[in-house]
């Protein structure tokens, strides 16, 4: 692919992206879509944020973070605590992001020294340790102030989640196409080689880990403002790591479109099957996930490219 082809393609991507965002902005004002669709789309947006956040570390550095739930959960918990102690909800939301950053610095810095499988089980272990501690400290549900439900309608929550999703995609896009992104890919493909070229693996990994945690923390904050009542234990369960992980892997690791595609897939699958099969949809998701890892290691995005190339070669 030459340069003009590439820039034309990315130009096209911006147009498509802009149109899609515009549709999502206009959707609730132009049509009476109802609460159900809005909250489904809300879940979808949260999944986009979380899977992009997971992909930033997992896809671009090749380090599988199995502790994303800790950052999402800490966002949920801290936003709820700040909000109920009388702080402005939007400030609480931002604070949730910074609490996640603080956690990433405390937990992330030591685990960053670990490589490969050690990193994965290390992050999972710390996330579980945090979940058990939180369960001990906050065993019951937490409430937001009673005025909350007047100020935040489903529409406000919808736009906040949409805004965060767009913000996330822009941040990830800028990061990936900067020097940092190139350094990350170099580290992923050969850490020792990158090191010998003067690229500091630890510095770049920490940067990207902090950004990823910040996004997950913000997602937690938005989630709190949507739910109102939260039970901290449930927001720290590994499900919040596994969902985004599955979405990112099914869509395609190390791409921006991948997690978007994966989130659409995951949320729709979950919605269809949860009404008929309950939690059993995870069986189907799990089998699909295994098949994708085995036969489409670069995800659905890869299959799209392959099909396109097939067409091109036929023409």
């Amino acid at each position: 692919m030459n340069e003009t082809d590439k820039s034309r393609q990315s130009f096209l991507a911006y147009i498509v992206g802009g149109v899609v965002v515009l549709i999502f902005i206009l959707l609730p004002v132009s049509m009476n879509v109802g609460r159900y669709v809005l909250s489904l789309l809300f879940t979808f947006f949260i999944y986009i944020v979380l899977s992009q956040s997971w992909n930033l570390v997992g896809g671009y550095t090749g380090q599988f973070n199995l502790g994303l739930a800790a950052y999402f959960g800490s966002g949920v918990l801290s936003c709820s605590i700040f909000y109920s102690s009388g702080i402005n909800p939007i400030l609480s939301l931002l604070a949730a992001g910074f609490v996640a950053i603080a956690l990433a610095c405390i937990i992330g810095l030591p685990t960053m020294r670990l490589r490969g499988v050690y990193f994965s089980i290390g992050t999972l272990a710390l996330a579980e340790a945090l979940r058990l501690t939180v369960t001990n400290l906050w065993p019951t549900s937490l409430y937001v102030p009673a005025t909350h439900y007047e100020r935040f309608t489903i529409l406000t929550n919808y736009y906040m989640a949409l805004g965060l999703a767009v913000f996330t995609i822009i941040v990830v896009h800028l990061m990936v196409n900067s020097r940092i992104g190139m350094a990350l890919t170099a580290i992923r493909d050969d850490e020792d080689a990158a090191k010998s070229m003067g690229v500091s693996p630890t510095k770049h990994k920490v940067t990207v880990f902090v950004v990823s945690s910040f996004l997950a923390g913000l997602a937690g904050g938005v989630f709190t403002l949507f739910r109102g009542v939260i039970t901290p234990t449930f927001q720290f369960t590994p499900e919040w790591t596994f969902g985004p992980l599955v979405a990112a892997c099914i869509g395609g690791l190390g791409t921006i479109v991948g997690p978007l595609l994966g989130s659409v897939f995951f949320v729709i699958l979950q919605e269809i099957f949860s009404q008929t099969l309950g939690k059993m949809h995870f069986i189907i998701t799990g089998i699909l996930f295994i098949l994708v890892i085995l036969f489409l290691p670069r995800g659905l995005v890869q299959s799209a490219t392959t099909i396109r190339q097939l067409f091109k070669s036929k023409l």
Partner: protein, 287 residues
């Protein structure tokens, strides 16, 4: 009081070694990380539970049945999940094995919940709750049985690995699979059998879990994490050190319970685990 704490630490430690030994074997031989190990523990527990409830088979006597059934499940899992992993380049296998077995957790745990509901199940055998007094230290009868079973299983495993042809070929493959295959060892068959044994051992641990604690469909993660901790304490893939590593974890956890209270039992283990990962990644007992 101190003696009692140490006693519990030893009991739980030996039990932890039983939980982790299968995972260590699989990692040592195939260099795959099986995150679904805990789910196999839970499935083994369910098999014991149903054998006890439907046929009235004593859980300790049901262990041979559990071993056989789980061995077959292990063979199936190898054929469906681990065997296709060989398509990947060597450097990518470990990471992908983690992702795939993670998918396996989703499938297995929800399948178990679907088949047997998400109720918490435990076995109350006639001798459950009975306690033996040893020099003023109380030892539950079931724990004593589990310790006996662990010694028996690890002893048989040791004999199998060192005395039989298949066992020796498993060890050879673990050391250097290329050299082993040059010497005419069928690597695929060795992997298949090692996977079967690993899952069978997880199942036997499940019997101990259902006797000493309880099982529910989504509790596999807890046992997986414990196996993981023991694995890292022992040094990845080192089967002989698993026993000592289990003991170390059991004793440290009991110390944590003594100092911080029972709620933080698992937290102590997990935090120690990360510290050891960072400070001594080759394992506590590696030379």
């Amino acid at each position: 009081m101190i003696a009692q704490i140490i006693m519990y630490g030893v009991i739980i430690g030996i039990f932890y070694a039983l939980v982790a030994v299968g995972l260590s074997l699989l990692f040592g031989v195939m260099k795959y990380m099986n995150i679904a190990h805990g789910s196999f523990v839970v499935i083994g527990g369910y098999i014991s539970f149903w054998l006890f409830n439907l046929l009235g088979i004593d859980p300790f006597l049901s262990i041979p049945f559990v071993l056989v059934i789980m061995f077959v499940i292990g063979l199936i899992v190898y054929g469906l999940v681990f065997s296709p992993l060989k398509r990947f380049a060597e450097g990518q296998r470990l990471g992908n094995s983690m992702l795939i077995t993670f998918g396996l957790i989703l499938v297995l745990d929800n399948l178990v919940a679907f088949l047997w509901t998400s109720d918490v199940k435990t076995i109350t055998a006639p001798y459950s709750g009975q306690v033996i007094q040893l020099l003023g230290i109380r030892v539950p009868f079931t724990s004593l049985g589990v310790i006996g079973v662990t010694f028996a299983i690890i002893g048989i495993l040791h004999l199998f690995l060192s005395r039989t042809y298949i066992g020796q070929s498993i060890k050879a493959t673990a050391q250097d699979w290329e050299a082993a295959s040059l010497l005419g060892i069928n690597i695929n068959r060795t992997y298949l059998i090692a996977c079967g044994i690993s899952v069978a051992l997880a199942g036997a641990a499940g019997t101990a879990v259902v006797l000493m604690y309880s099982i529910s469909p989504y509790s596999g993660l807890e046992w997986m994490l414990i196996s993981m901790i023991v694995l890292v304490f022992a040094g990845l893939g080192k089967i002989r050190e698993v026993f000592l590593a289990g003991l170390a974890l059991g004793l440290l956890e009991q110390l944590g319970v003594f100092l911080l209270g029972g709620h933080y039992r698992a937290v102590v283990g997990l935090v120690l685990f990360v510290l050891i990962l960072i400070l001594r990644p080759q394992g506590l007992f590696a030379k």
